[in-house]
Symmetry: D2
Subunit: 251 residues, 4 copies
């Protein structure tokens, strides 16, 4: 039972979760891919984070074989996975959602129906783009405030009771010492690596280009994480953008 | 009692609130300014939003006349002002804070001591920079999600239960119809005008330049509101950036 | 002789030039595409501007049929096409370049060998990305200078004798009245439309994402043209970015 | 003869050239500044690169003392200074230009009248903003092209015969080995340091904020040089942005 095709021969409910679009395409449409031996009526759920256009392409191919494909990318990270409370964002035919929900509920507290195939990916990509913007914005803001003489904890408190509040400021603050139990207080280890964020922003960028949507901040956020990956931050948590920005100017 | 100097002759606790740095400088150091006749021991509180460097400059001038200057910019908007629950961010000597607090508590629920003179401005500017970034980011994200086939209300709900959550997504959503009682559902009337946001971002930009702080997203947010002002959005609420970005490409 | 396949049956040297990657893929690999009936030893030259990855994919498919594929995008515009002095940037096997050169020399003064398949596209995309950056930069600079009190013609002269000089400042100045015979002096009609520039910047963006290359200005230039397309500038010459930026702030 | 005031007592034609606005203000309006003892009819020329608004302020102060102030910032670098062929951009009253020109011609081949006081600064700032944009754009483009398989010398040649051509690509190419005699071929030593470019971009930013001019690329270029200064590039030539961007992503 080594290949995806072997799996498809034996199981009629399959969940895949792979690093990127080419891997997913290979697993489904490759020479030993799932589609070689998928049984009629099978439910194939892909929980990878990939281009929504690839999800739609796969759904078409699967449909021709009388099986069902849904995209169901996940958010929540390693801790949520262990605790079984991941969030799944699901795209696909609405009448198949109940079956998917039943399966995914074993792993995730929240299983949300997003719309037709590809919208699960869209929701995931959108969330992560806004997350990246909020994180870089929080890092810039905290850095500026500190240089203007504000205490970081006080600044975080003020932001969090005001309109600057966001997840990155109130739940995952990027400044060491402001919060406990987050990567910034553990030398930016663990968490969600900058290279993963750069990948998701690349997907957002492609989706924006394809739909002719202007994303000024999203696009710049992508370039910031790209630079960080090139300068030694690839494996650090994405909140390390604070460290990337804060270094003092040399004289 | 027409001039600021006249006021200073009669009152020993003065609160000023003016549109920009030159106005404040004129009111204090002009030929009929407060400093011409300020009494020893007076408490001067400036609630304008201006450059922190100007606040520090004024504090120095006031101190030489044996009076006290504090900066105390305000956040909260017209509604909060009417209801008396504005937030004041106060910078100045800590031993004077109690006196300032007593005075400002009449108008604001929250009166926060931020540190030495200028840090009130710093806190205000930092909050509004992060707010602008969060708003543009939310507008880009909602626009991208809609074009990828997501329902706007559903997308907002997903963001708000996930790491993309921010004040602009959960309290002041820029997409018409997603929330009630916000400017986006009232043709972007009322609220906080784009021209005011552009002004605050100009202050953030100056402070960043002066402290040699890189603000990639903050700086781009500034340019976005600058463009909006040039293209008819000056008086609309700053959440109208969604409208600015969303127009369909013509064929 | 209606379909590409029909053409391939009769000719052994074919030049294609189509708007975008999907069109090119259809023309070559579609059900009536060139590859259905291409003869061994044929030389297929694609002068479209598309993703270099698609060019490489096609080259692989063509090679399996014992024919030769080269990418040869063109620069120069309508005027150059009429005068027969277009520039072709050619990618493909070096030993086939002479044959391609012979063919393309009928249409273009300059036929440049760039390297393996896809490098013709790479050269075209790179040039246009730098062109877009230079044009927006020139527009911003001229606009700033004019607002600071400089005469536009004088400013252009100073830039052009200094280190600010670029093709957009000295050959295609975007400010009406500075130069004659360019689109800016003809209400931005003719020339190279903003929508075409947005398309090429989308290709640059994809190539940068695929190669993990940070392109901060290139990416922002892409977003600027994307916004312009959404705001009525799609069919105007790409130098109309000056007009897009210059409008006065309303009071 | 230690202080500026001493100089003003003895000379009636004075040229100043100082690092930044505060230095210039001190030299003119300080307690031992030029204005303390300037003689009527003196010609004061400031060749510093500073905020045009400061130049105008000084011109007003000088005029009240019946002397003449002109701003005349310089471009060309160390080599040009030694060879006596600097370029001066002069702002001030037109009827005084001949006198200034006579003086400055000893040091500079080109002495250009730009308009009223401050326009010399404006021209200098505008040129350097476009230069920074062109340099970063060239660095991004060369980096992208190299990663797409192009030879750097060939790519530079293609850009320089096409519309991507700019001073940074054809005279001062940032890629080591493409040209001789430029800082990129000497480990980015000599030339114009990134910290000086960051300073000039800060002036451009301030001028743009003051005139409400959107400068999307100029503003981002500012942030890029700001980051470079924070990461060890402050003293390297500004073309080292290529090196800053090119580092390979670690795996």
């Amino acid at each position: 039972m080594g290949s995806p095709a072997d799996v498809a021969e034996k199981a009629d409910r399959i969940i895949t979760m792979l690093p990127s679009s080419p891997n997913v395409l290979e697993a489904y449409t490759g020479s030993n891919g799932i589609l070689k031996k998928v049984k009629k009526g099978s439910l194939l759920i892909d929980s990878s984070t990939i281009d929504p256009a690839v999800s739609r392409e796969l759904a078409n191919a699967v449909e021709k074989l009388d099986a069902v494909f849904m995209d169901a990318p996940v958010s929540g990270g390693v801790g949520a996975a262990r605790a079984g409370n991941l969030t799944f964002m699901v795209g696909g035919m609405e009448e198949e959602f109940t079956a998917a929900q039943e399966l995914l509920s074993c792993m995730g507290t929240n299983v949300i129906y997003c719309g037709e195939v590809g919208t699960g990916q869209a929701a995931k990509i959108c969330n992560n783009m806004l997350l990246a913007i909020g994180m870089i914005g929080t890092a810039e803001t905290m850095n500026l405030g500190i240089r203007l003489g504000l205490d970081p904890k006080l600044l975080a408190k003020i932001l969090n009771m005001s309109s600057g509040r966001c997840w990155s400021s109130d739940t995952y603050n990027p400044v060491p010492g402001v919060m406990e139990g987050v990567p910034s207080s553990n030398n930016y280890q663990g968490g969600f690596g900058s290279t993963l964020m750069a990948k998701d922003l690349g997907l957002a960028q492609n989706s924006a280009t394809n739909t002719k949507t202007p994303i000024l901040l999203g696009s710049l956020a992508h370039q910031v994480y790209r630079m960080m990956c090139a300068r030694g931050y690839a494996q650090k948590d994405f909140s390390s953008v604070f460290q990337f920005l804060r270094e003092e100017e040399d004289l």
